[in-house]
Point group: C2
């Protein structure tokens, strides 16, 4: 007998029939002798509908918006509880404040501070399934808060950590984490398991299976995660801290990020503090900088290159142009038709030569590398956007990730 | 400076523009130096939408349904708070559990047991407008409850009582209580004021302006009520315990109820206990009996007549037929093409002759009276349905209720 936290996302509870199917899935696990706590998102489309209602008002942020949005999950927990009772499973819907899931008061992006488990323990002990609203909590003043988009994953992981659950299962519309996007590489393979670090790199690089925050939380509290499909059977992908890669591939996956743009300040006089002089004003505008590369150039000057979200490209250029003039730099250049391709794997820690294999593989396809950035378990390159698919396919093949 | 509780129903907050208009109304009262607590219903149509979702499940009653339905008002308080902030009014949305409004655990028809006023007092004292979700509360176990349809009126009256408010204003889609239905009598006049008793009789007889329960509550705690239009200016109708009818009409209004049917057990042997023998089995099926009349007949028998909701007419006949046989009654008769017309007024307590004027007025129009029932402030007659409008118009004129 195990204690399992299951989280079902918006598409998994998108209509009445799907809610019934979720109830059946939960019931199967319970009838096999396990205790289950269920966490659900709002029915797909519901949160957007509510956001549109709020957007009619000029001052729609703050706790009023959190209270509005929290109704989305509240509807789902009510309906799923009814569906469970219909098939003779005893269930109790619980809003965030009823658990309670205590958060700080950063409305719209609150952080979980504490989960009181007495109620959950007594419900599960007495054979009742707690059906908990994801994405929401309550602050010290009794005001409803929300954790921000995708917060339901975080709710599930936090509950699993607090309850010391045996596993936290994230049900979604894909059947696991893949070596790369199967729409680009049809031979992409579902991974049986992955480390938290690998998953973090995959998630931050555009594999939108799991919220980064939830993975960080799981890593911190060693919560065993599993990503599964709501619509198909299968074992999904386990995400744990086990690094049992002895006989496995060095590289776990190839990720593609199409949401960045590259900007370059050319011919900057090379003196201490220029990085901060350039990036300070960008950060002040809340623009997130990702890769940063500095090359020393000729004549005591240097070229300073970095990437920003593509949506912030024009604004970044506007910030940089007067700045470059003031700094006596030659010019500002940019390119918003670039992509970032990364290979990820804890195995590369102990294996030299991954980078050179990667560069050679891209060179063979005549793909020019515009930027390189490396971490312990990841190597990222920036290339022209038109090489996206070719680059991903080449690297996927190079590291033997195809299904057999 | 007064403390005013304002309640806005579903049509008053039916869309974004109407919510903005409500915010303006509230703001006007506040800027005039008053403190206001606002109670709102779900946007019109929303509760029905949620009920339809729930009806997909066989076991949709109980606390899961209450939690589902409570989201309707939760959406409205969020949006109205945004609308108020947009026009620089400080407002805080409050669900029932946040006030808290404590109820018993009769899910779907919970009764308010206690309202803790500390939070409301401190908000109003500091110039913040509490925007409270009507229709909902929380029981001792922290489970969300609802008060049943129309419960928002009750929430408003209960808050006004707890806060000792100067007035409880019920905003709706009519501009007050009328002497009779203006669709039947175009000359019907809006009443300036009315007693609780009169309002109770009017409401129970089909004037659907206010929930009976809310009026009872107001009467018990002497809460000064006022019914007003959300869409037009005007003073509306005050409902209080003042009986200042010195120079006013004896009769306040004429009410029509088209939702009843008449059944008669003819030739019942006249012995003690027959009323209970007949009505007991009817009550057991949860059929509500309204008027009851017993006439002594010939030969030691009696005729027993009563009215039931029209929807329960066939079932009532089915209960009575075998019963009549067992009781040795002659037969069971019935008529579901009848209506009940009533004249109401606290003035009739001290005035004889109202009944005879009523009967004479109907006789002049050749309307046959099939049943009569009287109370201290009301006389009701049952007549054939085809005489509905004629009867109401005759009585409205007889008692001089037309607008001048």
């Amino acid at each position: 007998m195990a204690l399992i936290v299951q989280k079902y996302g918006g598409t998994s509870v998108g209509d009445i029939d799907k809610i019934r199917a979720v109830a059946e899935k939960v019931s199967t696990i319970v009838k096999a002798g396990n205790k289950v706590i269920v966490v659900v998102s709002a029915m797909s489309g519901e949160t957007n509908r509510l956001v549109k209602l709020a957007e009619n008002f000029s001052d729609s942020k703050g706790w009023a918006l959190d209270m509005l949005l929290s109704t989305g999950e509240q509807v789902t927990i009510s309906l799923l509880s009814m569906a469970l009772r219909e098939i003779a499973c005893s269930a109790t819907p619980l809003c965030g404040w009823q658990v309670p899931i205590k958060t700080d008061d950063s409305y719209g992006k609150a952080r979980i501070e504490n989960i009181e488990i007495q109620k959950l323990v007594s419900l599960t002990e007495s054979g009742v399934i707690p059906v908990v609203a994801g994405f929401q909590g309550v602050d010290d003043s009794g005001v409803v808060t929300t954790l921000g988009r995708g917060g339901s994953d975080t709710t599930a992981v936090a509950l699993a950590a607090a309850m010391n659950a045996d596993e936290c299962q994230i049900y979604t519309d894909v059947d696991g984490v893949y070596t790369t996007d199967p729409r680009i590489v049809p031979e992409a393979r579902r991974l049986d398991c992955l480390t938290y670090e690998e998953m973090l790199e995959m998630a931050s690089l555009g594999a939108k299976v799991l919220q980064i925050r939830a993975v960080e939380f799981a890593s911190k509290y060693k919560v065993k995660l599993r990503v599964l499909s709501s619509f198909e059977d299968g074992d999904g992908t386990r995400i744990t801290d086990e690094d049992n890669k002895m006989e496995k591939a060095i590289i776990s996956g190839v990720a593609l990020n199409k949401n960045e743009a590259q900007v370059m300040v050319v011919g900057v006089p090379d003196r201490p503090g220029i990085a901060n002089e350039i990036l300070g004003p960008v950060a002040q505008k809340n623009i997130e900088v990702d890769m940063i590369v500095q090359n020393s150039g000729a004549n005591g000057t240097t070229d300073f290159t970095f990437t920003v979200p593509r949506a912030d490209y024009e604004e970044t250029l506007e910030i940089l142009r007067p700045l470059a003039k003031k700094m006596d730099a030659s010019r500002v250049e940019g390119d918003d038709k670039i992509v970032k391709i990364s290979v990820i794997g804890v195995g590369m820690r102990s294996h030299a030569g991954i980078a050179s294999r990667m560069f050679a593989s891209l060179a063979k396809e005549n793909i020019n590398i515009k930027m390189i950035s490396t971490s312990e378990i990841k190597i990222s390159v920036v290339v022209e956007e038109r090489y996206s698919e070719l680059g991903v396919r080449a690297l996927h093949a190079e590291f033997g990730l195809e299904s057999t």
